[in-house]
């Protein structure tokens, strides 16, 4: 490379050699101008066309993908809304069924209360006192025209009787009023009971009204989903992003729990499957076994929640008849309890193993054993056991965020993919424009070194034109 003198025609005359070489190169470039321009144009055209084609294809693919995402998203949204409406209807149905079931009894009770009130009301009616009998007697006495003191005596006797009868009548009248008051007092609980029953009915009606309003809301949402407008799609997409973020956060927390769980059982698992078996260079069989136990717990939790219809990741489980679903639920729960029991005992074994190893280390170091007669030293062991039993159940609930992740991730990936494809398509489109312009730029760049021959060419062409013009005139 350093021996550039070999390029020189006359090594002794460097300047002359370079000049001649330069002239030759210029001549070559000038001669090759047209084919080179063609090559530049062809290459740039090729890149332009390819970029445009790819860009167009990506735009179309993104469009199709977006349509597909949209239909999936709306279908899922419709399904969710329908499920909500279904549940709300079920709630209303339950309320109505329950109330309708109670209604005959309530009606009977109300009728009884009303009859009782009516009877009591009739009993309370004021009975007019009988017409006084002494009025007829006085009239008879007044018609006696003779007899001396006879009428006077009769009247006196009559007066006495009247007083006596009056006292008796007044007494009976008062007694009758007392009875009516008692009856009225006895009617109070009946009124209260009727009032309470009517209040209950009112409350139920309010609940029903609330449910009806909820159903109205869900129905309007469902209608907007059916309408398939952009606003709904946007709302569903944003909802999917939010769902993914929340579910991912919960999953991270659950992963932390799973890690603690793993640490609890990894050491004691070596007692079962051996501590010296390796699957890969750094992966112990006992570690994998511990991981499998945790994954089994998560799976059982998933099946439990599926059979409870809390999650719906497996359509086959969701479509099972209630009897089979109940059996599956029971089986999952039993397995989960067994696994939790195993884990709890493994946690106990871990504590024993650690204590045993610590004791061995003390023996080997000829150190005195620690004095620990306090019940506090058993607290970590109890804590480990409780954690070992509780964590599998806590881990079972990971199925809920998992379902959210599964459903929302599809939407999110779809959106990201569409945006990515569109971004690349725009970049390719921009590149195609760039290549189109680049052809002209490269052409001009090529012409710069051979500007002198080009000027000469133009000058000669101009001279010829000038020479040819008078001849043509002649």
């Amino acid at each position: 490379m350093n021996d550039w003198h070999s390029w020189l025609f006359w090594p002794d005359s460097v300047a002359l050699s370079i000049f001649v070489l330069g002239v030759l190169v210029l001549l070559f470039l000038y001669a090759a101008r047209e084919p080179m321009h063609l090559v530049i144009h062809s290459l740039c055209n090729l890149f332009t066309q390819t970029s445009r084609f790819l860009s167009r294809w990506l735009f179309l693919a993104a469009e199709k993908l977006q349509q597909r995402n949209r239909s999936v998203l709306l279908a899922h949204g419709e399904e969710s809304a329908a499920l909500l409406i279904d549940r709300e209807f079920a709630r209303v149905g339950d309320i109505v069924r329950k109330d309708m079931q109670d209604y005959p009894a309530l009606q009977r009770k109300l009728l009884e209360e009303v009859t009782r009130i009516e009877e009591d009301y009739h009993k309370c009616g004021e009975v007019p006192p009988p017409p006084p009998e002494w009025v007829d007697a006085i009239e008879s006495v007044s018609q006696i025209k003779s007899g001396g003191d006879m009428p006077r005596k009769l009247l006196e006797e009559l007066n006495k009787s009247i007083h006596k009868i009056h006292d008796k009548t007044v007494g009976e009248y008062r007694h009758s009023y007392e009875d009516r008051h008692k009856i009225l007092k006895g009617m109070q609980p009946a009124w209260r009971s009727v009032d309470k029953m009517l209040g209950d009915i009112d409350k139920k009606m309010v609940t029903l009204h609330g449910n009806a309003r909820l159903i109205d809301g869900h129905m309007s949402k469902f209608e907007s989903l059916r309408a398939r407008n952009d606003k709904t799609e946007h709302a569903l997409t944003v909802s999917a992003f939010v769902q993914l973020a929340i579910a991912a956060l919960v999953m991270v927390v659950a992963l932390g729990g799973a890690f603690v769980n793993y640490k609890l059982i990894a050491l004691p698992m070596s007692e079962m499957v051996g501590a010296s078996d390796y699957i890969t260079d750094s992966l112990k069989t006992s570690d994998v076994a511990a991981l499998v136990i945790i994954l089994m717990e998560a799976s059982m939790g998933l099946f439990l929640l599926e059979s409870l219809r809390i999650t719906q990741l497996f359509p086959r489980i969701a479509s099972m008849d209630d009897k089979m679903r109940h059996r599956l639920m029971l089986a999952s729960l039993i397995f989960l309890v067994i696994l939790a029991g195993i884990e709890s005992s493994l946690a106990l074994m871990r504590d024993m193993l650690v204590a045993d190893k610590e004791m061995l280390m003390r023996d080997l170091a000829s150190a005195a054993p620690p004095v620990s007669d306090s019940w506090l030293s058993n607290v970590p062991m109890a804590g480990q056991m409780i954690m070992g039993f509780v964590l599998p159940f806590a881990l079972a609930f990971v199925a809920i965020p998992l379902e959210s992740v599964v459903y929302s991730l599809r939407t999110v990936i779809g959106v990201v993919l569409v945006q990515g494809m569109r971004g690349i398509a725009v970049a390719l489109r921009f590149a195609s424009v760039l290549f189109k312009r680049l052809a002209k730029v490269l052409e001009l760049v090529y012409d710069i070194p051979i500007v002198i021959p080009l000027k000469i060419e133009r000058w000669v062409a101009g001279f010829r034109n000038h020479a040819a013009a008078p001849a043509a005139v002649k």
Partner: protein
Amino acid sequence: MLLGAALMMSSCSDSRVHSQAVYMLVDTSGTYAQEMNKASKIINYLLATLNPGDSMAVAKVETRSFTEKDIISRVTFDTRPTQATAQKRAFKAKIEAFSNSVKGSAYTDITGGLIQGAEYLNETRAGTKTIVIFSDMQEELGEGTQRDFPIHLDGIRIVALNVTKLGSDNADPRQYLARLKHWEARVRNAGASEWVMVNDLENNMQSILNIR
């Protein structure tokens, strides 16, 4: 899936590749017999460090050491940690009994001990094999003992511990250096994978093993 399971099974069965085997030679000749306390500490360290599934043997270096009778104790630890702990306790008890009754030998046959150790280690089929020599590395062979032939220590780590200086070394340190050089050259020529010397037993104990 079946292939994956088969591969997993086959890799599980080859568990010895990940295990360690240690053969410790303890020099009991002359004044070195008094160093048994230090040797016990090293053995305890090895017991504390080795894992279930590993193997360990302790042998004494005597007048003629190429014999299994010189092995004080040997064990391959169970894969279950609880059993391995019990085995370690039993091993320690044996070593303690030996250190209480150790008697000095007239000669020091290190080469014989190395050959015996290599034989034991190869039998264990462990992934990492180490011979630990607790000696001043001054070999003295008795009459009729032939050790001047090539030995084979392929893939075995050799760790020389507590290589004390002799009285003559103090007068002429070249003897000490030449002795170490001789042994290093010998074990390397025999195919040893590594030659390590540890004199600072307080701070450099972890160099004895290739801890995973």
